[in-house]
């Protein structure tokens, strides 16, 4: 199945879902008027938009064709080659020499326009919808149907290297903003007939194409059903990014943890599909959503599978340690220095005492200040233009780090600890997963500064309880560690050599008794 076929599908669905025809009398069943009338009508509906082009071609005497398209959405070169050239240059002579029992229009559509993906619509609304999705409308006066030729060719970003998930040794390509490129990149990696692509349109105004991708027979039916259900329930006027949808997909949107994995790498999507996950691609965004997500997906970097397993195992443990440092290092430091100094080694305590001497704020306040300043620096570094970025790092590094310590405003160990936990949070490979730990750090820090180690223990229990309760599309967030599935643990705490990895690493399901149907034909649309 090519992406063209895919687009064919979505158009039908769109008409079904949106039900445009009956809503607007102006746009229904009027294509048998002459083309002047149609041109006027389209102009009035679109408010005489400057980017809608009307082109007339005279094929034979008294037989004019009206060609309408939106400039910018249509590939002009293809238009010239495949529509205008046959109609203008070859058309008249062909029309003279042929017998056309069904009229000129039928002849044109059947024999003159060499385009793979064409369809007939018979309403003005259908024409307008087609125009807005990059079709060229060919209308012959007096006929009941218009020909829509799919010729989308708007400006697209080329396939570039991934910005948010760089890889050292693996594939480098990342999705761009075009949905059909996205689906093509995935399909190029999975030459599997079981790959299903379903289309939806979400957004009243943006009418964004959304595709659901999964491997039929591998993805859980229940999860798939849930995805359909949740996507259908979305009521949005616009969808400009996958994250618009992500919020509606999550089981607990207020949880600090992301329950939908997002990626911009085709290799990650392909691997996830093989694991039985379901991908949701949204037009206009390079991000593809993957559900269900578990806690451990937050740890797995794409490079984990392109490097040697022993090294990856080590790195995973480093990440795990760093993850815990990023959330607990500053709170433990605050708790130990202000509540339980007897737990520190004597020499360390003396060093701390020496550097705290004369600093005007309590340690917990210092830590809060530095954490917020650190977050601010990070945010500034992300938002600012690249040219200004170096200024931020200079100001951040020198002024905050060094001058503040020398001036005695904050103590050096606090700066070190905050910087270390900040760096630790950057080792988390999934960008949005790292956020959750930055939020939680403030929560733990507050408790640590109020009741010491007791507060840290308390917050640890709260966080762990939440993690264990959390579910993503029915899959426990901490699986396969809890509930335990020993075989799948080979790719969680370690990365076992590939030959020992289970071939289809499917997320643990709540109801192991429920058998999957052998061929989930009901969910297939193609």
């Amino acid at each position: 199945m090519s992406y063209r076929g895919f687009f064919n599908v979505f158009s039908h669905q769109k008409l079904r879902h949106r039900g445009l025809e009956p809503q607007n009398d102006d746009l229904s069943g009027v294509l048998d008027k002459n083309i002047d009338w149609i041109e006027e009508k389209v102009k009035s509906v679109s408010g005489n938009a400057a980017d809608i082009v009307f082109r007339r071609v005279e094929l034979a005497k008294n037989s004019q064709l009206l060609i309408i398209y939106v400039t910018g959405l249509v590939d002009t070169k293809t238009l010239n080659e495949t529509v205008l050239k046959p109609l203008v240059i070859d058309g008249p002579s062909a029309a003279r020499s042929r017998w056309m029992p069904n009229g000129v229009f039928e002849f044109v559509t059947k024999q003159l326009v060499p385009i793979a993906n064409v369809k007939n619509v018979n309403t003005l609304g259908g024409v307008i919808d087609g125009l807005l999705t990059g079709h060229v409308a060919i209308i012959g006066g007096g006929t009941r149907t218009a020909l829509l030729a799919e010729m989308a060719g708007w400006p697209v970003r080329p396939i570039e290297e991934s910005q948010s998930e760089p890889s050292v040794q693996g594939p480098h390509e990342a999705f761009n903003e075009t949905l059909r490129d996205t689906t093509a990149l995935i399909r190029r990696r999975l030459r599997d007939a079981r790959l299903r692509t379903e289309a939806m349109i979400i957004g009243e105004s943006s009418k964004t194409d959304v595709a659901i991708l999964y491997l039929s027979g591998v993805a859980e039916d229940s999860v798939l059903e849930e995805v359909h259900q949740r996507l259908k329930n979305i009521r949005l006027s616009s969808v400009f990014d996958a994250h618009y949808i992500e919020e509606f997909l999550e089981d607990s949107p207020l949880s600090p943890y992301p329950q939908v994995q997002n990626t911009e790498r085709p290799d990650v999507v392909a691997a996830a599909l093989l694991e039985g996950k379901i991908a949701i691609a949204v037009d206009g965004t390079p991000t593809v959503l993957l559900v269900p997500m578990t806690f451990w997906n937050g740890f797995q970097a794409p490079d984990d599978y392109y490097q040697r397993p022993v090294y990856v195992t080590l790195i995973r443990w480093v990440r795990f340690i760093m993850l815990n440092l990023s959330i607990f290092l500053t709170p433990v430091y605050v708790a130990l220095t202000s509540f339980h100094p007897q737990m520190l080694p004597t020499n360390l305590l003396i060093t701390f005492a020496a550097s705290h001497n004369g600093s005007p704020f309590p340690v917990v306040l210092e830590a809060f200040m530095m954490e917020i300043i650190f977050e601010g620096l990070r945010e500034a570094g992300v938002r600012l233009p690249k040219a200004v970025g170096s200024a931020v790092s200079i100001v951040g590094g020198l002024v905050v780090g060094q001058a503040a310590v020398e001036a005695g405003i904050v103590s050096a160990p606090t700066v070190i600890v905050v910087a270390m936990s900040g760096i630790a949070s950057f080792t988390i490979p999934r960008y949005n997963f790292g956020f959750s730990y930055r939020i939680l750090r403030f929560f733990v820090l507050l408790l640590a500064g109020t009741v010491g180690l007791y507060g840290i223990t308390l917050s640890f229990i709260v966080i762990l309880t939440h993690q264990l309760n959390l579910r993503s599309f029915g899959v426990p967030y901490m699986s396969p560690l809890s509930p335990r599935n020993p075989k799948q643990l080979l790719d969680v705490l370690i990365r076992a050599p590939r030959r020992y990895l289970p071939q289809r690493n499917r997320p643990h399901q709540d109801n192991p008794g429920a058998k999957r149907r052998p061929n989930s034909s009901g969910a297939d649309s193609t």
Binding site: S338, P341, Q342, L349, I350, A353, S355, H356, G358, T450
Partner: protein, 399 residues
């Protein structure tokens, strides 16, 4: 509604923290970190508590390590906490004992008895059980806390470290002392330090690690063991980790004084205390085994054959056997304190008999015959077998 409930829940949780008064947060800037304490008995019967408190300001960057990094403050009191309260009135920061590694006890107080101050050590949760308690031989703890040790930032810790390097682990004093104190028959001991000049002609003084102070069941100091006696005691109770035994090798010429000594650096120690009832009479067999490396030999032994090595081993065994027998005799007849765990060995082997003996154990211990056996093995004789100086020259006494 939901938002309102969330807000009120948050407020309630926040209030539960703010209104419980559970606020024992004390900034480091408000803590006086006590590194070492000393307790003395004053002439009027009160205690004098002396503390070494670190001065973090002098540790700060750029000031170097030349300035004194601690202050020594004393305060009197009827008991330890009374003195500590008086101490607090002299300090601008909260008195904090959590890092006190070492406690000095003046000899006068040790002779008077430690039962009073030990109560505070067990009752106060701030006191680390892994701290070291030293008796200051022939001097006061207050004096000892004023001694400077040029090698260490905190001089009081110097004696702890020297003890560590002659074979005792840091932080292993207080807990065994307390355990022996509460045991019905065992007697506790404490390590001892002495204030000595750095060298015979130096006016500066330093600490020296001396050995062990022996206490009776009333926790009164009854006497001292010197360094090697203390080491042999540890050997008997199986806690010795390093010791070098120096002894005279058999066959060395009697006419060359100061010569003929050899030293074995032991690495493995084991002991077995075996109480034996024979014909209704109790006697003990103490078997000490040790393996070590010959480090020094000023004798004319060539170490060319196993027989020669055996003869040196025999000399070592004889020497150690003599020392250990003397030590046990000293404890039996002079101090009347069981510091070797003979009681525990008997209770383990003859639990029934132990019940009858227990009541007058002090007397039984003082009179019981003890047979000491030693088995010494030299594993390695070092890098040379024969000494560099030929035996002939050794005989002539030339170096």
């Amino acid at each position: 509604m939901k938002v309102l409930r969330f807000g009120s829940m948050t407020a309630l949780i926040a209030m539960s923290f703010l209104t419980t008064g559970c606020w024992d947060r004390i900034e480091l800037n408000n803590r006086a970190l006590v590194m070492a304490s000393g307790v003395d008995l004053k002439d009027d019967g009160d205690l004098l508590l002396t503390d070494q408190v670190i001065l973090p300001i002098n540790l700060s960057k750029g000031l170097g390590t030349m300035r004194q990094q601690f202050i020594t403050v004393s305060a009197p009191g009827h008991n330890i906490l009374d003195a500590a309260q008086n101490m607090q009135t002299k300090l601008s920061r909260k008195y904090f004992l959590g890092h006190r590694r070492i406690v000095f006890i003046g000899e006068k107080l040790a002779k008077h008895g430690l039962s009073g101050i030990m109560d505070e050590f067990t009752r106060n949760p701030d006191v680390r059980l892994r701290s070291d308690v030293f008796v200051v031989e022939n001097d006061t703890a207050e004096h000892a806390l004023h001694i400077r040790s040029p090698l260490e930032q905190y001089p009081a810790l110097a004696i702890m470290k020297s003890r560590k390097f002659v074979g005792g682990d840091i932080g292993t004093t207080l807990l065994p002392f307390l355990m022996a104190s509460v045991h019905p028959t065992s007697s506790p001991t404490l390590p001892v330090l002495k204030i000595v000049p750095e060298s015979p002609h130096s006016s500066k003084t330093t600490f020296q690690f001396m050995g062990r102070a022996v206490f009776n069941k009333q926790l009164k100091l009854v006497g001292y063991l010197d360094y090697s006696e203390a080491a042999y005691r540890f050997w008997i109770i199986n806690t010795l980790s390093t010791y070098q035994a120096t002894f005279k090798v058999n066959g060395a010429k009697e006419s060359s004084p100061g010569k003929g000594y050899a030293t074995i650096d032991f690495s493995k120690f084991h002991s077995r205390i075996n109480p034996v009832f024979e014909k209704g009479r109790l006697h003990y067999t103490v078997t000490l085994t040790g393996t070590g490396i010959l480090r020094e030999s000023e004798s004319n032994v060539k170490f060319a054959s196993p027989a020669e090595i055996h003869s040196v081993e025999r000399s070592a065994e004889k020497e150690i056997k003599g020392c250990v027998s003397d030590l046990i005799g000293k404890a039996q007849h002079q101090y009347h304190t069981d510091i070797f765990g003979f009681d525990l060995a008997l209770a383990k082997k003859y639990p029934r008999k132990w019940d009858t003996v227990q009541k007058h154990w002090k007397q039984v211990f003082s009179e019981v015959p003890v047979q000491v056996n030693t088995q010494i093995k030299i594993q390695v004789v070092g890098q040379t077998s024969e000494g560099v100086v030929s035996p002939k020259e050794t005989e002539r006494g030339q170096w």
